[in-house]
Amino acid sequence: MLPSIPKEKLLEMYKKMLLIRYHELTAKELFASGKIPGFVHLYVGEEAVAVGVISALREDDYITSTHRGHGHCIAKGLDVKRMLAEIMGKKTGVCKGKGGSMHIFDFSKGMLGANGIVGGGAPHAVGAALASKLKGLDRIAVAFIGDGAMNQGVVLESLNLAAIWKLPVIFVVEDNMYAMSTRSLMPGKLQPRYSAAKSYVERAIGFGIPAVEVDGMDVLAVYEAAVEAVNRARRGEGPSLLHCKTYRFFGHFEGDPLVYRDKEEEETWKKRDPILLFKDKLVSMNIVSPEELDKIDREAKAEIEEALKFAEESPYPEVEEALTDVFTDNSY
């Protein structure tokens, strides 16, 4: 697997994971100090899923995302300056401060939106894939959804539509085991399970969609599975589902007391930090020296520091801005 991926690409993936990590740690601090209003859902621990999948896509492919969407945005190439500015509600934000953390969009990057409604974006990916197919294009669409969304009606409807219309869409289930506080597939020490399916692979197959379970902490495993799904979609062979098993290192949102999670479980998962796993693999296979990786680490950190400076120095929007962008003619 590794030799077939150019070194340059591997390092780019590594850097994106770090950018996400530093972005999220910065957001965590900003939230704690009251500089980010509203809600923040951090992607720390899940970096391998966004980077693994999106590294298998073309720049013109579409994605839809979730309330925990920062990682998908950065992996899709959004400008971290304008992202951080958006999360802080600034005028220079990618959505002019009108979306915020849960609703980041960048149409120029094929990023059709993070979404504050669980499962809300899944049918949009289906529709974008439908448009691509009807126009005779080979652009594909990826719907990132969480394990919680797998119990949401609109997601199940989306799976069926994608299957009957054989659309170039990939459903990526980021299974971090918890839908806010409730366990999804497996009962835990503190709770029962809230999904009757044994796995989401089984459920997808029930919809006639090929699916695989993937180690969501291993970016190369995710990438490999994504490449196969992408190829199938581009060949016109229809949708796929990737069930990526991962873990969020922090709470559902910043401020979550985490009373529903077992500490031992948290520690076990944190030992499998996707960034450290990738780093070890790259070094142990002699693909890159630890020094080179440290340099990338410093670059990523510096980029986020620069983004933070940009966001902090940016002004808030003029208040009249609240009344624009409802309709294309700016009426409301």
């Binding site: 579409y62 120029s108 939106g113 809300g120 049918p123 529709g127 439908l130 409802v326 309709f327 009426s331």
Partner: protein
């Protein structure tokens, strides 16, 4: 333009066909709109002409296919979606009011969502509480949705063409009792701008405002009242969002008396909102209290006499007009 008499249904069908011929990005989606031709026959013949790629029969998954229409619109298509009855919006409301309506705003104006969502509305055929509602006020209440409610075949065609060409989400509501109504409609394509009211009958004594079927009740009442020497001006706003308040205010300033006839539920509804606009902006011109004839806040009953009892009609308009003329 050469016109001929066709039905409301045929006018909509013609608008769909002509827009699909003009613009390859226009597609239709909905339940039973293909071979069956739509629950009310509106899409008859279109799958034969444009094929199943552009006239897409969907499974019974309103949230899924309305959401897919939103995604397809983001990716450059112009979907026209048929919701079999407006009452079914409930199972898809998130995709309508949180997604379709808000994506442009939340993206800071990056996205365009040119979806037209067509749905039959209205009572009068004993379809009971889950297939008879009007509900335009709910859509109009949510920022980001345009709401169109035509009353004639001519308006239906011109407004639907404008709706399809609009780059914003449009909820296009068709009163099912009007489907068989015939009227003069040009064969050629034409547009009627959204946000332009139409004075359906000029008069001097009382302004009566109606939408969809209630426009016809108002015209019926106006005709009967004219025999008693009472002159009614009937105004059809045609679209609720955007709303042409100028035409209404101008009429109110002339007549000084207003009756608003609204088939939707009374509470927090269209009639109350229009009354509040008139009070805010033309209070000093009023010679009598504004009267509202609406559907009371009960589910639409099944039994014909019960249904008839709660709905606005010409008789209620006549009595109300007389009550404010003293």
């Amino acid at each position: 333009m050469s016109t001929r008499k066709i039905t409301f249904t045929e006018a909509i069908n013609e608008a769909l066909r002509q827009e699909m011929e003009r613009d390859p990005s226009v597609i239709l989606m909905g339940e039973d709109i293909g071979v069956y031709g739509g629950a009310f026959g509106v899409t008859k013949g279109l799958i034969q002409k444009f094929g199943p790629d552009r006239v897409i029969d969907t499974p019974i998954s309103e949230a899924g296919f309305i959401g897919a229409a939103v995604g397809a619109a983001l990716a450059g298509l112009r979907p026209v979606v048929e919701l079999m009855f407006v009452d079914f919006f409930g199972v898809a409301m998130d995709q309508i009011y949180n997604q379709m309506a808000k994506l442009r705003y939340m993206s800071g104006g990056q996205l365009k969502v040119p979806v037209t969502l067509r749905a039959p509305i209205g009572a009068g055929i004993s379809a009971a509480a889950q297939h008879s509602q009007t509900l335009y006020s709910i859509f109009a209440h949510v920022p980001g949705l345009k709401v169109v409610v035509p009353s004639t075949p001519y308006d239906a065609k011109g407004l639907l063409i404008s709706s399809i060409r609009d780059d914003n989400p449009v909820i296009f509501l068709e009163h099912k009792v009007l489907y068989g109504l015939k009227g003069e409609v040009p064969e050629e394509e034409y547009t009627i701008p959204l946000g332009k009211a139409d004075i359906k009958r000029e008069g001097d004594d009382v302004t009566v405002i109606g939408l969809a079927r209630t426009v016809w009740h108002a015209l019926d009442a106006a005709e009967q009242l004219s025999k008693e020497g009472i002159s009614i001006e009937v105004i059809d706003p045609r679209t609720i969002v955007p709303f042409d308040k100028e035409t209404i205010l101008k009429s109110v300033k002339k007549t000084g008396r207003v009756v608003i006839v609204d088939e939707d539920y009374d509470r927090c509804g269209f009639a109350s909102w229009v009354a509040s606009i008139i009070v805010d902006e033309a209070f000093e011109y009023l010679d009598a209290p504004i009267k509202r004839i609406t559907t009371p806040n009960v589910p639409i009953p099944f039994s014909p006499p019960l249904e008839q009892y709660i709905l606005p009609d010409a008789k209620k308009i006549i009595n109300t007009v007389k009550s404010i003329l003293g």
